[in-house]
Symmetry: C2
Subunit: 494 residues, 2 copies
């Protein structure tokens, strides 16, 4: 194949020139698709969208030298997206990215560095290390901290529990768990609240400990772990001859943003020789805000933490961070691969991040965060956090003021739960689940739903997660009224 | 915060407009940085680059409304990158992305869909399912196949071994491993060749089985697993009362592209009730080429496979694929999260990919592959594979023709090993490792290095991995001569 026939690459001086018309095509198609969608989500049944995508993918391939496929498929996906920058799209911890972060991410796609060896990523190896230092400082960690960028809270939680397993269980049994495997000895236990993220159980399963390793600690009405219950559970564990391996505290539960008592959790874990991991995937964003940061007091005592900049950080996915307070506790992940980080290269200053990540090939997600921090600073990001907190408070007030809506509790961060109250309370679940699907089908709004831990029938709750700092309080109030209207329509249709 | 003060977002019609000037800035800075670098990698010691990045990150933050930080940091990172589109950057499975794939990836950053629930990713949920069908067809899998996009071979290998653990070990012990944890019973064993990727051992460690679970099967001189040795190892395992859990065959080893005898591995695994996982992260690209696809005969018999489109697929990182032949074997990963995939929503057609991935939040990497396939087709991509295979053959011929270079073996795919032969053979390791660092320090070339499994002293080998279809045979020959020249200089300097 001659250079004339191969389609252009993104690298080098000529790569930027090759990208120029293609990027223009993408921006045009994004605008066209968004205009075609004209709302937070495409209207219509999901099966119709599936068929549309299937037809688009079945078209014959091009010659690689025009932009037809790029234009066609970009417009299709833009028209078929849930748009978190629409004020009526407020279901999940699914943030609308800042344009500057998206532009920074384009640079990374074009350059394609991979963080598993210095000679695939010279500048971004240095950059990741330095950005993690900044994040560790935000957390309040000492200079002994270490960490890595991850795909998100699920991977970060897995890493925390893996290090806990290898360190705590290894110490208790005199084995090197990562080399020898899990011992037959005492059963290890992980303690997490009933409102903790499901990835904690998933991690226990993946790690070979089994989901049943996780002891569910009861929560109070605001979904915060009860420290007295944790103390009881830990004592019970020891009494049974089992090993308290880790306490997972949540700083910002997915549904209500509840923050477990971090200091009490750290005290109890220390008392029992357990590892403390704090899942601050959502709540970590509060560190950016002077107003909300005090809620995270005690975070700096955790052995490890999860933070997600693709939640309260306005980054495109992925932008997860995993940190440990002491670099030495990272030991069980270290690897030497002759083709990536030979010892004599490291001695010569060609450092490698390979031993810090569960992945090998890895995109430098640190870059978009570095650009965002350089462009806005902590203060600029903190204003966005506060704006979303204000919006959540406005939304909760609108719910409280509505006769057919019931608020579960005041927002801690930027999310709150509520439900529509039908005349016939027995229909509450059907009406609430149904009104949400009605809003999706009509393309009018994307609101979340969930269930409260431990509740019986009538447990479906609706959720608003406010992550768009451009949304106004009036728009949030309109969204609340839209939900109430859909509830009435759903009730009438049953 | 009012909309006037918050920095613009990437979503919606106005997002495309906001992105336009920022994307222009990025392209200008990419070109500027590439011109400043003027070669495959920045010249100078790594410590100097680190200091440069540290100074850049220490500058005071902006107000979020200009593009200064974006321009400055993009140019810095471009100047400080290893550029895989430079003909002299040929160390790793680190491909130069196609401009069209990079442009497609920009659309995803801007739209920010997340694949863990339908209402965060309506169109891309459909798209991922349909693209995976196309990939499964390429592999030769029946319509029972299922899969997911992953961060790369390391995650895909982990998934294959996790499913093997839960299925094979669960069947043997009558336990549900993912719920109950690993049993104390018979030790499970994983069989992989001495040239298999280190992520196999890493997966065994993560899964709680321990790295020592992996039995290393000897390879022939071309680094292919010896099937007779595998048969012996499996018999030994059974004789010791242990459980043969999985056979991991490699289709395209990282260093030489060697392909294990896939049919023999599948036969032996079946005979012993073991799971067959094929790590085709590199070699899977051969499926795109009529010339090379026959090398992968037997791949379609594997229980699971790993494929990486960010290697022989010209995608920006990440673009990994994990597939299983039978969807039913995926069971142990299924999860129901009330806030993501409630059963009544799924019944209504709002399908979720949550139970297919180890991650929760997840970027739709399927999109750039869909656009690439629509733009070029398998045939267009196959021409790129063949071009790189031709380049590797040309490079190997140049090595063979050079009196001071020794070729390890002919290229199977697009990579080959060789070394410089100093007058004093005892200096071979120091000279080969040193010449590589010399080329990095001078900014002249990025060549790979590795070691052969099981060799004693004198084992450092150099590696060229040809992944740039725009490179010419003459440029590869020049690169080979550059290496030889650096070897002579290094030898003289010792």
């Amino acid at each position: 194949m001659t250079a004339a026939v191969a389609p252009p690459l993104s690298g080098g001086v000529s790569g930027a020139a090759a990208l120029k018309p293609l990027v223009r095509t993408v921006l045009e198609a994004l605008a066209e698709g968004a205009a075609r969608r004209d709302g937070p989500i495409p209207a219509g049944p999901p099966q119709e969208l599936f068929a549309l995508v299937a037809r688009a993918l079945a078209e014959p391939a091009g010659n690689g030298l025009d932009d037809d496929a790029l234009r066609r498929l970009t417009a299709l996906v833009a028209a078929g997206s849930a748009d978190p920058s629409d004020p009526a799209c407020a279901a999940h911890l699914h943030c609308p990215p800042l344009a500057v972060a998206v532009a920074a991410d384009l640079a990374i796609s074009a350059l394609n560095p991979s963080q598993d060896s210095w000679d695939q990523a010279p500048a971004t190896t240095a950059l990741e290390t330095l950005v993690l230092d900044q994040v560790a400082e935000l957390v309040g960690y000492p200079s002994t901290a270490a960490g890595v960028f991850t795909s998100g809270g699920t991977e970060s939680n897995l890493m925390g529990l893996m290090l806990a397993r290898d360190r705590v269980l290894g110490r208790a049994t005199g084995r090197r768990i990562e080399r020898d495997g899990l011992p037959a000895g005492p059963r290890a236990r992980i303690f997490a609240s009933a409102a903790a993220h499901f990835s904690v159980r998933r991690a226990a399963a993946l790690l070979g400990l089994g989901e049943d390793t996780v002891v569910t600690v009861p929560v109070d009405r605001d979904l915060r772990m009860e420290p007295d219950e944790l103390a009881v559970a830990l004592r019970e564990c020891v009494r049974r001859g089992e090993l308290p391996m880790a306490v997972v505290a949540t700083a910002g539960t997915t549904d209500t943003g509840a923050i477990d008592p971090l200091n009490a959790c750290a005290d109890l874990a220390a008392e029992h020789g357990a590892w403390t991991h704090v899942d601050a995937a959502y709540g970590g964003g509060a560190l950016l805000s002077d107003r909300l940061a005090p809620l995270l007091a005690g975070l700096e005592r955790a052995d490890s933490v999860s933070l997600d900049w693709h939640k309260l950080g306005w980054q495109p996915v992925a932008a997860g961070v995993f940190l440990v307070r002491k670099a030495e506790t990272y030991a069980s992940l270290a690897r030497r691969a002759a083709y990536l980080n030979p010892a004599d290269d490291e001695d010569a200053g060609y450092s490698s991040l390979l031993g810090l990540s569960l992945r090998t090939t890895r995109r430098p997600d640190a870059f978009k965060i570095a650009v965002t921090l350089a462009a806005l600073g902590r203060e600029g990001l903190g204003r966005l956090v506060d704006a979303c907190h204000d919006l959540a408070c406005a939304g909760a007030a609108a719910v409280r003021a509505h006769p057919r809506l019931e608020l579960h509790g005041d927002p801690v961060l930027t999310a709150f739960l509520f439900r529509y109250l039908p005349a016939d309370a027995a229909l509450a679940d059907r009406v609430n689940a149904g009104l949400r699907r009605r809003l999706l089908r009509e393309g009018h709004a994307v609101v979340g739903r969930t269930e409260l831990p431990g509740e019986g029938p009538g447990r479906v709750r609706l959720k608003l997660t406010l992550l768009n700092p451009h949304t106004t309080a009036t728009e949030v109030e309109q969204l609340v009224h839209l939900v109430a209207g859909a509830g009435a329509a759903e009730e009438a249709a049953l």
